[in-house]
Subunit: 269 residues, 2 copies
């Protein structure tokens, strides 16, 4: 293909530059799947919690003599299946992910090789070349997960940044995501048919485009009900209007002054 | 195992509660590995950039007639390998990950099934049950990657939150991670032997514990050199002291008033 060089440089400016050296950050779906954790120390305890938070079926292989208190607690509470001995190759049967955290480099490497033969994604703690993936520092608030990775350059800094972000987020951050989900459900009750679907989607996009993140976190049940009054007219009021409407009963939106345009509606896409 | 119920409730308080319903967020290592992207539209363009940012060897299978401008640009710049036709099963040979973004549910499902047979991790865009993993909205700043996932509850909100975080972060966030890495390298020059290793590690931890994230982002080359003067005494000065030392030449740390303790050193672990 022949190309005009001047055109190439215009294109290069138009599209995002590649920034090499990162990882591919993924939200792995492990619900109900068998994750094998080999080891029962502090690192294993962290891995187990990560997996349980993602609804995995966790099996821990480790002699009960060396268990960390948290791991012991997860076993006692039947949150995980415990195999009370050292690793055996048959432990890999049915496993969809393997996390190794034992102080035995030779055993670790042997497990890594088995996983590669069986094509099971694996992470050998503290041995980067024997990892299909790394973990990061994760902030969790309901459906919201924020993961900080320094790409191996500083796990302690990742934790610092995670704490910084957790402090910066609006108080209702996790809840706001549920709220928007709820708004979608309420909308579907008002406009249930599949013919309504394009208008529903356009209106929901308009909502996301009109309010900033802090405003979304502030949305109350009452705000949502008031907001939905504007759906038939395919409008989304400024947040100030929702605030002004608080406490008003049986608002008749068609009689509101807001429709004279003076409130600056977000109309159109 | 019999347990005293009162003891169980104490233990339950001691350890983090499981918060089900999340994903397992991972930093996948795909450097130099073959990722197959099926499709050449807008979604494919986003996937390709994600993979290139993680140094993957990307192959795009899509007829050149339907290519998005960004995908066309990546091909023209030889950032990806292009196979100019629709998907064929042999495309999976050697692939370590498969990302499908085509408007053809039947073809997508067929590719998903092949991937499962071959145990290749795969993501079929817009078909959650045919995904080993989801993508999120990623902020990137050098070695720092922050990924926001709403666990499928609102990709637009994820992008809003990502923008909010990007705005909240100190300006030098990515750079600060490099700085700490640099500090570690400089320290190793001062204290190179393996006998120095425990002291080096303790001191570096002390550095992370003494400064908050904003202070770390503010650390200059000069600050680092001054900071290293405190290493022989195994001390880490408050950040105010580093600020005060700026512009001083040939600081003799042993003659500084700071050692009378009045500056509030971080001593001990």
């Amino acid at each position: 293909m022949t190309r005009d060089p001047s055109q190439v440089s215009i294109m290069a400016k138009k599209f995002p530059q590649v920034q090499p050296g990162g990882s591919l950050i993924l939200a792995w779906q492990i619900k109900g799947k068998k994750v094998l954790v080999v080891g029962g120390g502090e690192v294993a305890a962290g891995r187990i919690l990560n997996c349980l938070n993602a609804d995995a079926a966790v099996t821990v292989v480790a002699p009960s003599t060396g268990l960390n208190d948290e791991v012991r607690h997860r076993i006692a509470e039947k949150q995980v299946t415990h195999v009370d001995r050292v690793f055996e190759p048959s432990d890999l049967d049915g496993a969809e992910m393997v996390l190794v955290a034992v102080d035995d480099p030779a055993a670790s490497t042997a497990i890594w090789k088995l996983c590669k033969e069986k094509k099971i994604p694996a992470n050998i703690a503290d041995v980067p070349p024997e990892c299909d993936f790394y973990f990061g520092s994760v902030h969790r608030d309901g459906p919201l997960q924020i993961m900080v990775s320094t790409n191996g350059k500083g796990p302690r800094i990742a934790a610092l940044i995670r704490k910084f972000i957790a402090k910066s987020l609006p108080e209702n951050a996790g809840n706001a995501i549920e709220t928007i989900g709820e708004l979608r459900v309420k909308l579907r009750k008002i406009a249930p048919t599949s013919e309504d679907s394009p208008k529903r989607m356009t209106w929901m996009s308009k909502v996301s485009d009109t309010y900033n993140w802090q405003e979304m976190c502030e949305l109350t049940e009452e705000d949502m009900d008031n907001l939905l009054l504007f759906y038939p007219a395919n409008k989304v009021p400024d947040f100030d209007i929702l605030r002004a409407l608080r406490g008003e009963k049986n608002t008749d939106v068609s009689k509101l002054d807001v429709f004279d345009g003076s409130f600056g509606f977000s109309v159109g896409a």
